[in-house]
Amino acid sequence: MKFYKTVWFKCIACLLVIALISGASITVLANLWEVSATERTARAIKKIYGEEKEYSVILDADGEDEIIEYDGVGTVNKVYDVSGDLLFRTTGYKGYKNGTITLWIKAAKNGETYAIDKIILQSAEKQTLMSKLSGDFYDGFKLTDVTAAYNDKSFFSASDKTATNYNPVSGATYSATAATNAVNCVIRYLGGER
């Protein structure tokens, strides 16, 4: 019997053809519907401020700037100036299965210092219990004086119940740790660790 007439050849050929056509169509559509980094930033600003706003880039790790990494804590990927406020995109480490959480954090100008007053989620890698971190959880990170918190070494902690503004989340401890680390990156950045 000829090779190309065997059942297993037909099976492999069928799967290969489907996979190739699928891959090609997905590649075309992924290029067509690609959401650029600029568009994602505009979306985050609209979500945080409720309207579109002009912004200028202070740090952009996707561009020419280097990413700022805090050992074992997380990274600051982007910093924008939005009408005098600072908007951060930070990634926190030590989530579930060493996954990460990326947040958009607004630090509003408050006299000589900054105040963390709004946080939204950008993405969560491997964090299946993210839905447990509701708006109340993020509200727990509101801080009126970031500089004072840095000087007092008063960082947020997801496990130390005596820490500032501790907000327990049962069943999503790792995700909460990663989110907390993402916020602590902003405190370190504004404290001068760059």
């Binding site: 799967l15 489907i18 997905i26």
Partner: protein
């Protein structure tokens, strides 16, 4: 053979409702019905995948060797799920974010694979498309209604609009999801069984003359 679209519609929405009769696709049903909008978003995404995968599988049913039909179906379903993800992220980012992890999980949704295996691989294109559409409508209606009830009771809101300050947190929790789902299954079974009983009685009393109204038959 002539396609009975009326039967396909009745099966998809009532007699074989995937969520409330067949108890398929339970994972997104329980996890996403905290809000009515999530139900609509998930329902429409699944409906799109169901229609497209059913059409393609029906078209290729004679070309796909039976030994690899399941991996082939999964490949086709995964392609459409990826397309839905890309489209939602581009056009409807809010719904994309609220569906989160459950959007890629449509690939392993039992409803889609079950319809591919039991219907699309054995029927024509039109019938398969209709089956996908009505199964999708049945799924969407179940999720949206359940989402609306849980949102009203659990958050005192509907489609994000606040109705009142009163809310019962239990209905937003996982336990509340199971409880609401159970109540929905029981109510749906009671209603459909009672309708079926009445129809049967009418058929019996009419001696097969279905044109007579029920009251007259009694």
């Amino acid at each position: 053979m002539k396609t009975n679209f009326k039967k396909i519609a009745k099966d998809g929405i009532i007699s074989s409702n995937p969520t409330l009769k067949l108890v398929l696709g339970t994972c997104p049903t329980l996890a996403l019905t905290t809000a009515a909008m999530n139900g609509i978003g998930m329902g429409l995404a699944v409906t799109f995948v169901l229609i497209c995968s059913n059409i393609l599988i029906s078209l290729l049913r004679k070309a796909i060797p039976k030994q690899v039909r399941i991996p082939a179906f999964i490949l086709i379903i995964a392609t459409f799920v990826t397309i839905v993800r890309l489209a939602l992220d581009y056009y409807l980012p809010d719904i994309y974010e609220s569906l989160g992890l459950y959007l890629p999980l449509i690939v392993v949704n039992c409803i889609i694979l079950a319809r591919a295996e039991s219907f699309a691989s054995k029927n024509g294109v039109l019938a398969s498309a209709a089956d996908g559409l009505f199964m999708g409508i049945g799924f969407t209606l179940a999720l949206t209604t359940m989402g609306a009830v849980r949102e009203i009771l659990g958050a005192g809101a509907i489609f994000g609009y606040k109705l009142w300050d009163f809310s019962i947190g239990f209905f937003s929790s996982s336990a509340g999801a199971f409880f609401t789902y159970a109540i929905f299954i029981v109510l749906f079974a009671l209603i459909t069984d009672s309708i079926a009983e009445k129809t049967k009685l009418a058929e019996k009393n009419n001696n097969g003359d279905f044109t007579k109204p029920i009251e007259e038959a009694k």
